[in-house]
Symmetry: C3
Subunit: 263 residues, 3 copies
């Protein structure tokens, strides 16, 4: 791929995948954090997917069985939830359903690093999405080194993303001012988006949730991830052009997702 795309315009492939989501309305099972549940559910509904949030160990395997993909986000993790994440990831692997992992706050505490290590050992995800710092930290923890540099160059995160992609045979997405979609040695770049997106809580988590929908309908996961990040970026630009601040940004963003490709 190695392509950069002009923003505020969806490629034919992205439009086609989005159309498929609207037609098939895949059920995306989210085990995610308390802060963003409402937003991510609404974002999934806005692109035409069907969200479900469930986290009891007593039912996650059953829920995965009826879902088309699984999104695991460790934002507000605790042992009870981690147990459910493991059961769900195991089941998804068993049933060959795509798993998206969002390593929120990787590197911030030893507990997060330990949990991420355990999750990666149990079931390699199909897509990992994080910011540069999280991708770097996830790679370091996985490589059994400690600590996260306080300043992180894109290049070092790219190397970490490439290594994670190869180790787990997955697509790694670094999201930020520019998004990088890394699949083995190939890198695609999404240059869409707006700085205001970083001022709305959980925009990264929303990206991961959307990737769950895109991965549910598109087998080429690099294409799926590229399309998902492009939809995020373009919706963000449309919303930012109308927003007076983070409050209206959040609202216009959902409206933009809803209207994208609806013509």
């Amino acid at each position: 791929m190695n392509s950069t795309f002009p923003s505020n315009q969806l490629s034919d492939t992205t439009t086609a995948i989005l159309k498929t989501i609207r037609e098939e309305s895949p059920l995306v099972h989210n085990i995610t954090n308390y802060v963003v549940m409402n937003n991510t559910a609404n974002a999934l509904l806005s692109i035409g997917a069907s969200p479900v949030m469930a986290h009891a160990p007593e039912e996650v395997a059953d829920m995965v069985s009826i879902a088309s993909s699984l999104v695991v986000n460790i934002g507000t993790l605790s042992p009870h939830w981690v147990e459910a994440m493991k059961l769900a990831m195991n089941q998804a692997t068993e049933l060959q359903k795509p798993i998206v992992l969002d390593p929120v706050g990787a590197g911030a505490t030893p507990y997060r690093n330990q949990v991420l290590k355990e999750l990666l050992e149990i079931a390699p995800p199909d897509i990992i999405r994080g910011n540069a710092s999280e991708i770097q930290a996830l790679h370091s923890a996985q490589a059994k080194t400690k600590g996260v540099d306080s300043t992180i160059t894109s290049e070092s995160a790219l190397e970490a993303a490439r290594s994670l992609s190869k180790t787990y045979d997955c697509v790694t997405v670094i999201s930020g001012e520019r998004d990088f979609i890394v699949s083995g040695n190939s890198i695609a770049v999404v240059d869409a988006g707006d700085p205001m997106m970083a001022k709305v809580t959980g925009m990264g988590c929303t990206a991961s949730a959307l990737l769950g929908a895109f991965a549910a309908v598109e087998e080429d996961l690099a294409e799926a991830a590229f399309a998902g990040m492009m939809v995020m970026g373009v919706a963000g630009e449309i919303a930012a052009a109308k927003a007076d601040g983070p409050g209206s940004m959040q609202m216009h963003f959902l409206d933009a997702l809803w209207n994208l490709g609806q013509s």
Copy 2:
């Protein structure tokens, strides 16, 4: 009753009940799911009720004691929360405070069916509200049969609703494009609302929360449920007329609830 009501206009009875809510500001105790807590609290505030969310087994009975009604919603259930639901429902029954049960995702997993069966055995609710699929699944689980049909006719959900209503001496509400309020052999229909409502997460949960407020001030629970669903539907129509998508729909919906019957 057996009445259909012209939409975008509240009946005198509905207006009167809504006025009572605004005057008395009943405390509605919600044990509900993580996804919708913020929205349902805001919806209750917007119609003039006073929401409280509390789920610790250590305090739910005390909270029920100072509340005017109890809303139990199993959306993101787990054993610890189910324990609290049971304690709260027991206490509400003891103190003769109305209970609204929202069987979110009934039929989706065996765990949900099992929990619903236990809740219904412990304390029959006064109002049950779900979509057609949930009402059907709740009825099947209660009748000890397994499985949920993938396509559900309104008629079959109506029969399930009627059976639930008679078994538990409660009002059963099927919400959807048309809402049915079933009380024994009588059925009332609310034809208000807008398809965009289904694209905002937790609109059904919001309906259940509002029913908690309506049941708190109106003894005739069929009237209370009819009024609550009518307020939902009319607010939904007002909001949809202004909305550009699910984001602005959510905002305008709360504003519409706030302004209904205020003049």
Copy 3:
């Protein structure tokens, strides 16, 4: 201080503290309730702070270590969370990082009173913020008397606030139509704000979260609390002037926070 400030205009000191928050972007660690997590995170982002929500006993001490302040809010408390609150408050005390305590629903149940008593014994907070009823109840519980008067005069809450301030060497904030910032024998008054703020869930919780950011950058905690409550009130007035109800109020409030002092 003992000053009242004209509303819809920030003092030079408040503007300066807000500017420091935007420059330093302090990490504010919140252990708060499910209902308001999204809003409080967005409010913190809108004033330029960096929010983190984490509650696992396995990591809260580590999270406090990298944070600039700690906000503890008992809105939807349960034993597992209370354990984390204690660990976090201990760590914050150890590392001399400011603690803001929001005693949501103090007096509503014996469990809340008991937990608040335990929290206050473990680690005295630097700022306590509640409504008049909560401040009164917190004081009564701490004084080992039972019960909360159903009608509470501002004067009685002021006495409770003064007593709490002296006992714990902290600033006590009573928020309401008028906000009182009580520090020992001195009282400052903020007369900004709008009644519509009480119709958006979690506005009080948002105030407490913002105080975490203000306390993180301003050592004079009475000044920090005054500035934080002034920012809340002024943003509330700006938002209310544009709002059609609680839905748009919530959105405009975040936008107003974002734009305050940005010129």
